[in-house]
């Protein structure tokens, strides 16, 4: 009896500890975001004085007005949404298929394909060969350049495979005995069981697509119809700063006109909030988890 009571006290203390610890984590990690939020709503001249914490000192909406006045924002937003949705769908489908084949211990291609894929994580041909490749494939200036080269992330393949490896193999075997083919096993058994990891991978891919701007810069900088939100905003963030010679009187004017801090923070908020809104829909798959038993029965 005494033992049970002690255990309960220990359990309760541990719960208390977790809650205190988690509250601290929440405070510490919420701070930078609130700071950015506060600065984004603060008057840009006043921001230079520094010392802003989690609330604006001189509230204004002008920073946001400025941002929403940019050309190309609507087109950029549309393209970013399309590439994020399409790119995530393709990315998850591709990575899960590849991961499944590599997880099959009896698959002939397993070993050499694993090595073939794994190696690519650690080298690249470099900027110029990559660019020339895109040129020969006719991808420059197209929307497909956002989707085709980013079709598959090898990292994700290995993450999903490790998850599949953790699933009981008996499920597949019994399905096989029931006469299911490999595609059916993948589609009917593996995918439903992989929900948590697929949700996670979907999040990674979506955030990657949402945040990327460098491919727009490289391949679509002369095609405003294919611009992306991040690229439009990046143009403001990275205006002039380096590259131009500060000794050149022309450049000095441009440097003095560099975008104020508050505008940069407002941009951070504008690009972050939409992806945060999607989060809860994915979160439920990996925070609560799903019951394996339910699938089995």
């Amino acid at each position: 009896m005494q033992g049970v009571v002690q255990k309960n006290i220990g359990d309760k203390l541990f719960d208390l500890f977790i809650y205190i610890f988690m509250t601290m984590v929440a405070i510490v990690t919420l701070y930078p975001f609130l700071n950015v939020l506060a600065i984004s709503f603060n008057d840009s001249v006043d921001t230079v004085r520094g010392g802003l914490t989690i609330y604006p000192r001189e509230f204004t909406l002008r920073n946001y007005e400025t941002i929403f006045g940019f050309e190309g924002l609507i087109t950029g937003f549309k393209n970013t949404v399309i590439r994020t949705v399409a790119g995530t769908a393709i990315g998850v489908a591709a990575a899960s298929m590849m991961a499944y084949t590599l997880s099959r211990p009896d698959f002939q291609g397993r070993r050499w394909m694993s090595v073939l894929f794994a190696l690519t994580m650690y080298f690249s041909g470099g900027l110029i060969p990559g660019f020339l490749l895109m040129k020969y494939l006719g991808l420059i200036g197209t929307f497909s350049v956002y989707l085709v080269p980013a079709l598959l992330s090898v990292w994700n393949v290995f993450v999903i495979r490790s998850y599949i490896d953790g699933l009981p193999f008996a499920l597949q075997e019994s399905a096989k005995i029931d006469g299911a083919n490999d595609w059916t096993i993948f589609w009917k058994i593996i995918l439903p069981l992989c929900q948590p990891v697929l949700a996670t991978i979907a999040l990674f891919i979506a955030v990657g697509h949402w945040n990327s701007w460098f491919d727009t810069y490289l391949f679509n900088n002369r095609n405003p119809e294919n611009t992306t939100l991040q690229y439009e905003l990046m143009k403001v963030l990275l205006s002039t700063q380096t590259g131009s010679n500060y000794r050149d009187p022309n450049a000095q004017q441009a440097m003095a006109a560099v975008s104020p801090e508050s505008i940069k923070m407002a941009i951070t908020i504008v690009v972050t909030v939409p992806i945060l809104l999607v989060y809860p829909f994915l979160q439920k798959y990996f925070v609560k988890g799903m019951t394996l038993g339910a699938v089995k029965s």
């Binding site: 719960d15 977790i18 510490v28 990690t29 975001f33 694993s114 690519t120 080298f123 595609w183 925070v287």
Partner: protein, 319 residues
């Protein structure tokens, strides 16, 4: 099918070949699901590797690859003769190793604790909040770190002074020996929540029957964490860990660059920044490529050594 021992010498190879094709046919769905991606990765990852020959040339973009001047290994020799190269290599490995150790253990512990929480709302809120800093750029985060550690009213110095631990503010950012630690902690602050997501997903995939069974056996909370949850995420953990070992040398330069300053430059400059500064930024494509090749070779060696050790110990492999 005939057992192997019954094969005649002439029959052997044909049968083997037939069996290979037979099995390949059996696995046709698996091939259909993977071969398109094999072709894809060949085109997009392996074809551009022709660019590596430029490391042995004095590459100028105006000419094609065949009209360049060949210089043998001189780019590599220059790289290995540069003192700066060894300093940046040391800094890179120091920071990436610290980052690897801290950046894996803490998110796992965090995920473990999160998994132990009972209140769904609080749990989800904390989880959501904890990954927010991932979206805040390094420019902002480094600015906050500088302000907190400032001697001019920085929060950390004021706290330490108030606690009477020190009586003079410490110039944290001026001390080279603290720099690696500051980078590691800042990185943890920014990425802990984000990095824990994948472990949470792995925990979500653990068969609940295992927990039920051990409850019946009278196992306590910690025993369940130790014997079920942690082993449950082991595969995922090991895969991520070993793949990350391959990236020990290429950790980007953004955070080190933004957190650095002239006084700690001997501790802050990393390999990728060196490659950028002395390669592409100076239009020395060949030198940049040579650095890239060095980087790839080291990475691949590291990852295969790590995988080899893992294989020897556990008889499993991640690649």
């Amino acid at each position: 099918m005939k057992p192997l021992t019954e094969m005649t010498p002439e029959e052997g190879p044909t049968l083997k070949r037939n069996r290979f094709w037979f099995k390949a046919f059996q696995q046709r769905y698996l091939y259909m699901m993977s071969l398109p991606f094999v072709i894809w990765i060949f085109i997009f990852s392996y074809v551009p590797v022709w660019g590596w020959v430029t490391a042995f040339q004095n590459y100028k973009p105006k000419d094609t690859i065949f009209d360049q001047k060949w210089v043998g290994f001189s780019n590599f020799i220059e790289l290995f003769q540069d003192e700066r190269f060894y300093i940046v290599l040391r800094n890179t490995l120091a920071m990436s190793t610290m980052g690897l150790l801290v950046g894996f253990t803490v998110p796992v512990i965090f995920a473990l604790l999160l998994n132990e929480m009972k209140g769904q709302f609080f749990k989800r809120s904390v989880q959501t909040i904890s990954y927010l800093p991932h979206f805040v750029s390094w420019v902002v985060v480094s600015g906050l770190v500088y302000k907190m550690l400032s001697t001019d009213g920085g929060a950390v110095n004021q706290l330490l002074m108030w606690l009477n631990i020190i009586d003079q503010p410490i110039q944290f950012m001026a001390k080279g020996n603290l720099f690696w630690g500051i980078v590691t902690v800042s990185d943890l602050w920014k990425e802990m929540g984000w990095n824990s997501i994948i472990f949470l997903a792995a925990m979500a995939g653990i068969d609940p029957e295992l927990y039920e069974a051990s409850t019946v056996d009278g196992a306590g909370r910690f025993r369940k964490m130790w014997h079920i949850t942690l082993p449950g995420i082991r595969t995922t953990f090991m895969v991520l860990f070993i793949l990350s070992i391959g990236h020990l040398i290429s950790i980007g330069f953004e955070k080190q660059f933004l957190l650095g300053n002239p006084l700690v430059s001997d501790y802050s400059e990393v390999f990728d920044l060196y490659a950028l500064k002395y390669g592409i930024q100076m239009s020395r494509y060949s030198y940049g490529t040579a650095i890239g090749i060095f980087n790839s070779v080291v990475s691949i060696l590291l990852v295969f050594i790590a995988n080899g050790i893992y294989k020897r110990v556990t008889k499993e492999t991640v690649i």
